[in-house]
Amino acid sequence: MSEIRETIVNITDKVETTDENLIVYSKPSQIKEVAKLLVMQGARFAHLTAIDFINQKNQIELNYFFSLIDDSMNVIVKIPLEASELSISSISEIIPAVIWSERECNDLFGINFEGHPDPRRLVLPDNWPQEVHPLRKNFSYNSKPPESKQPAPLKKPEEGKTVIPIGPFYPSLEEPAYFRLIVDGEEIADFDYRGFYVHRGIEKLAESVLNYQQIPFLAERICGICGFVHSCAYCQAVEKAAGIEIPLRAKFIRSLFLELERLHSHLLWVGLAAHIVGFDTLFMQAWRIREPVMYICEIITGNRKTYGINIVGGVTIDVHNQHLKDIDKVISQIEKEVRELREIILDDEVIQLRFKNVGVLKYDDAKKYCVCGPVARGSGINIDMRTNFPYAAYPMLNIRIPLNKSGDVWARTIVRLEEILISINIIRQILENIPEGPTSIKISKIEPWKEAVSYIEAPRGQLFHYVMTGPEGRPHRWSVRAPSYQNYQALSVMLKGASIADAPLIIGSIDPCFSCTERYEIVDLKTNSIKVYTAEELKNV
């Protein structure tokens, strides 16, 4: 930590240290040096986002977020860009994981990244006009710019290779995404992704209409499976920024629901993975085992999913002793059945043949693309936000992190199965140690221009929320980076060299969550450009 500080001071303008952030102020010309230095010191790239200060000081500020896993510290590199010259050199050669974030900043803020290997659109629809950037403050949340007709730029296959389109309506996951597999015979040579069809304009809505206490409910709707992690991460970020300490009981209740959510999310994934390889008995059994978790959540919060209990300052419900007893009963039953399920999967030769040595992501590649969650742990990277950046009640709990070095789909399956059992163990610890007391505190006015980063270990990996408080009773900037956002970018490595038949399984193995990844959209995509393209490609095939 201090080492980084000392070396970075030499090449930047100013360095500030707060409790858990190291804030580095730098010039646009220095970004490559700073990035090189941070990577050399072992910092892990988390996200890149911009903040619009055009009304305040005629600048757009770029924020590069890095995390120092061993020190539990964030490094925020702040680079102001004058509104007249929104251009900076891309750091994608140094950190490949930044590619999507840079494309996103280009779309939403209109920042030009020089030397970017793939400067196509990522987030905005094809019919969105070129010079309109929706996350700038001068763009009103409810305005609808005129449509522009542009062909969607897609990767052209090389001579002799064909394209197999999967999607936009994907067969095994009920969300739209368009995968283009460029194949050479049976083998996948390259991969192109066009997604963000479910981009809903959530960040824009929060930054322009809602207030602090309304956003948790919007945040929870980012994802249909792991929504609680989003509302939790948002509330934590605001609480950190405003310096609010929530009651201990509220922290335990948050941890409890985070673990219950991991339980049902992983069981859902096990079912889906079995479904993809055609083992439907297992699919139905995994989902049956999952069901009691949903019932117990419904009994406690009133909802099976999207509990709606998080607010800034704590939680709105209390958990009674009878509920704790019920949870204990449910998890004991699930533990027994998951052990059976695990035996069935581990002994099954057909599953082994389909899962082993498929979609391999080596340790170095996993590091390079900054993947997170079970995908990273399946490649042998020891990273878990619950221990690296402890939040909620996790500092008081004992957590074991399962690791597997082989990096294939099989490794990710084993890691997830193990995590279900670890989650059950954590829930037991929570049930034993949950303290008495209030569940929320009243919050007073939140000071503007304070910022905070909050991490949560979502079922799919490291979730990142950033909040900068604003003067109007709502965040000036709220940025979300879902775990699948990083994991997607590593898909091209996993898919290269695999056979077409394995593609759905490999895509499924990162447990992709499109809604999480594609948080915010304003206009729905009604052009038929996708259909035209698919038809053309089908002809080629």
């Binding site: 309304q214 956003i215 409910f217 139905m284 059994q285 419904e298 709606g308 069935i344 002994d347 099954d348």
Partner: protein
């Protein structure tokens, strides 16, 4: 290989049918379920706390002639229950009713009208009758003079002071 298949067979044969026969057999909702909203027009004082807390921004308050109209367009409701928690008079109540499918949007709309009180100086309606009664109730000194003070709108009070 066969061992694992036999285990799978045993696991699935242990449970016959777990799908609930809903809607043929009704399901009792859990105690904390947040369902349809119910608003008591007699209790509402038209303070607007619910308007500020509603995440889906579906509650509107408008003054029309001598009435204050509070409208809940519950078609957009996410059933978070924040309005009920914010209501100082407990006028909003969350019921257990969850079968709300309808082909008529109006079924989900709740409109309540609250009587307004006219300012005794300028004659403009300025507060709701329920709110005024509440304020009078809270007065320690219930003299005619104090009560009349409450019946003057903020604007006239300011003018009077000047």
């Amino acid at each position: 290989m066969f061992k694992s298949k036999i285990k799978a067979l045993l696991l699935s044969s242990r449970h016959k049918k777990i799908t609930r026969p809903y809607p043929f057999v009704p399901v009792t909702p859990p105690e904390n379920l947040r369902g349809r909203l119910e608003v008591d027009p007699n209790k509402c004082i038209g303070c607007g706390n619910c308007v500020r807390t509603c995440p889906s921004r579906l509650i509107t308050i408008e003054n029309y002639k001598d009435e204050r109209i509070v409208m809940f367009s519950s078609g957009r409701c996410i059933y978070c229950g924040r309005c009920a928690a914010a209501c100082p008079e407990k006028a909003i109540c969350i019921t257990h009713e969850y079968e709300l499918a309808t082909d008529n949007k109006k079924d989900l709309e709740i409109t309540i009208k609250i009587k307004m009180v006219k300012c005794i100086v300028c004659g403009k309606p300025f507060t709701s009758l329920n709110m005024l009664n509440k304020q009078i109730e809270r007065l320690q000194d219930k003299s005619e003079e104090q009560i009349n003070k409450l019946k003057i709108c903020a604007e006239c009070k300011r003018k009077g002071n000047v």
